[in-house]
């Protein structure tokens, strides 16, 4: 048995619904379970957590059997080293934020320490919320606390069930960078359920596409995207969101420079003072790629990047390219012909020309 794998073979029968899954996904990075509502992604996540007592089959996390019907083994949820983030934050309302965080920590035994809790509190930026009660938090803050609470037990596997679905548009973009930060800092593998394509594009290392209780496609992000009948549809609004701060202002030209992890972008000066935190949205259609440093161009923002992944877009003429600029990711929507002419592939060094940057919030 490959130890670095999460093996899931589950069969669950419900009235008018049947889940029948047999997959093995890498026990590292973010694996996104993707599909329309009602396809069984949440049920599958619940099966892995041991919350569906009717499910038959096997769940084996990196060699450790959590369920193995053949061996009459079924670990109850509380005995599985996992964290679970529910769609609604589900914080304990009779406890404050600290009480919520410590609930799992105290029960997890040696693995989790107060030190690691401090790291998690920093990682998710909830240090100032510790004495608040659940009903005094915004939707985004609740979800961050719920994620921190799940991580506090130092689980071997983190399960997230559409953690952004209950949030409005701007709140979603508030949480996303935290999730990216988790992916980049933590070694904890994550199973992430969503039906939103932008979350897949921004977070996934590995994708499992579900349809009507069955696996329709599974594999590394790029492979699944590149499949001829790629079930992933990208809208016009596909793009990346960067978080950073205002680094300087150019008052003569009414511009300001926003620095983010890995680079910086010039944008219209809206009067924010240097040091202000900002979130920037860069749409894929506003990013073009060149293989040499552009000169004599009207475009002010040119970032050195490395191609991270290439995926087919909805129209056969289009491609979506994910490029890494330092620790940040951008998406570029370009033609397939451009991909071929420039010889782009994962690892290529490119310059991303950013035509327009929007400041969100």
């Amino acid at each position: 048995m490959n130890p670095a794998v999460l093996q899931i073979r589950q069969h669950l029968t419900r009235p008018e619904f049947e889940l029948s899954i047999d997959i093995a996904v890498p026990a590292r990075g973010i694996t996104v379970l993707f599909g329309p509502s009602g396809c069984g992604k949440t049920s599958l996540l619940r099966c892995v957590a041991g919350l569906e007592r009717g499910a038959r089959g096997v769940v084996r996390m990196a060699g450790e059997a959590w369920q193995d019907d053949g061996a009459r083994k079924f670990l109850p949820t509380w005995a599985r080293s996992l964290g679970y983030v529910f769609q609604e934050a589900s914080l304990f309302e009779h406890l404050d934020v600290r009480g919520n965080l410590e609930y799992g920590l105290r029960r997890a035994g040696n693995a989790a320490t107060a030190d690691s809790l401090r790291d998690i509190i920093d990682l998710l930026g909830i240090g100032t919320l510790l004495t608040r009660r659940a009903d005094q938090l915004s939707g985004g803050e609740r979800q961050r606390v719920a994620i921190a609470r799940a991580l506090a037990t130092q689980p071997r596997l983190l399960l997230l069930d559409e953690p952004l679905a209950s949030l409005d548009h701007s709140r979603r973009y508030e949480i996303m960078p935290w999730l990216e930060r988790m992916r980049d800092t933590l070694s904890t593998p994550m199973l992430y359920v969503t039906h939103a394509t932008d979350e897949v594009a921004r977070l996934a290392d590995h994708v499992v596409v579900l349809e009507q209780g069955k696996v329709k496609a599974a594999g590394p992000l790029a492979d699944v995207f590149n499949a001829h009948d790629s079930p992933l549809l990208f809208g016009d609004e596909t793009g990346a969101v960067l978080t950073g701060h205002i680094a300087e202002r150019d008052e003569r030209w009414h511009l300001c420079r926003a620095a983010f992890a890995g680079g910086s972008l010039w944008l219209r000066d809206v009067g924010l003072s240097p040091g202000s935190k900002v979130r920037l949205r860069v749409l894929a259609r506003d990013v073009s790629l060149t293989t040499s440093k552009p000169q004599h161009t009207s475009i002010q923002n040119c970032l050195p990047c490395r191609v991270d992944a290439l995926v087919a877009d909805t129209h056969p003429s289009q491609a979506l390219v994910r490029v890494a600029c330092g620790q940040s990711l951008l998406l570029a929507r370009i033609t397939q012909r451009a991909v071929a002419e420039l010889g782009l592939q994962a690892g290529s060094q490119v310059w991303a020309q950013v035509k327009s940057v929007a400041l969100i919030e």
């Binding site: 509380w78 005995a79 679970y84 309302e93 009779h94 799992g104 609470r149 037990t153």
Partner: protein
């Protein structure tokens, strides 16, 4: 007119009976209410109806069957005799047993509603945070159901204080042993002592009014888990 000693005796006995009934019923009703709130068993409806029976039965019916069951030829009576406890009819213990049954729905139903309002999600969350079921129940379900417990306690206590039919049937009216406020009032009226009856009856009116007002205030604060 001051409260004379038989009246005081009756008041103290009533408080003792209602207090003991409340404590015991909360302990007994908690698992029952939890089961009723979460089971998918087809016995749920049947058991729910049994629990609710004291709400609709005349107390004298309840008292009559308890009297028969606890009597020397009844199954419970033979059991208590075999255990060396003697007969419970016309004793405080018999009265307590009657009260437990009579007030059962007033403890079970608020708790059941509270547990239903909480749902299964918090218990699932607790399980994913390594809490064993009993521990999750004690640290999550119980604190979250607190308003339900307060309601159950107040209703049970108040309802037991107001009990008359069952007391008269199985407890008789023995001063210091089974004579509670309601039977004391009855005794005063029988003896044409209207002044004394007024004191106790008026007290009961005030007590009930205070309890219901308090519950109403509580209800406004915790609407979702109360009856």
């Amino acid at each position: 007119m001051t409260i004379d000693s038989p009246a005081l005796q009756a008041i103290l006995l009533t408080i003792e009976l209602a207090g003991l009934t409340t404590v015991l019923l909360l302990i007994l009703a908690t698992p029952l209410a939890w089961w009723l709130a979460h089971t998918e068993s087809r016995w749920r409806t049947v058991l729910g109806a049994v629990v609710a029976l004291p709400l609709v039965l005349p107390p004298t019916v309840l008292g009559f069957y308890l009297l028969v069951a606890l009597g020397p030829h009844g199954p419970l009576g033979q059991l208590t005799q075999a255990m060396g406890l003697g007969l419970l009819t016309f004793t405080f213990s018999g009265l307590l047993l009657g009260s437990l049954i009579y007030s059962l729905p007033f403890a079970v139903q608020p708790l059941q509603h509270a547990f239903e309002a909480i749902g299964t999600r918090p218990m699932e969350v607790a399980a994913t945070l390594r809490a064993r079921p009993l521990n999750a129940f004690l640290t999550v379900a119980l604190p979250m159901a607190r308003p339900g417990f307060i309601t159950a306690a107040i209703l049970t206590f108040a309802h037991t204080v107001g009990e008359f039919g069952v007391v008269l049937m199985i407890g008789g009216n023995i001063p210091g042993k089974t004579r509670v406020i309601s039977t004391q009032i009855y005794g005063h009226v029988e003896a044409m002592e209207y002044a004394q009856a007024h004191w106790l009856a008026g007290g009961m009116v005030v007590f009930s009014f205070v309890v219901l007002t308090g519950l109403g205030l509580l209800n406004r604060r915790h609407r979702r888990v109360l009856m």
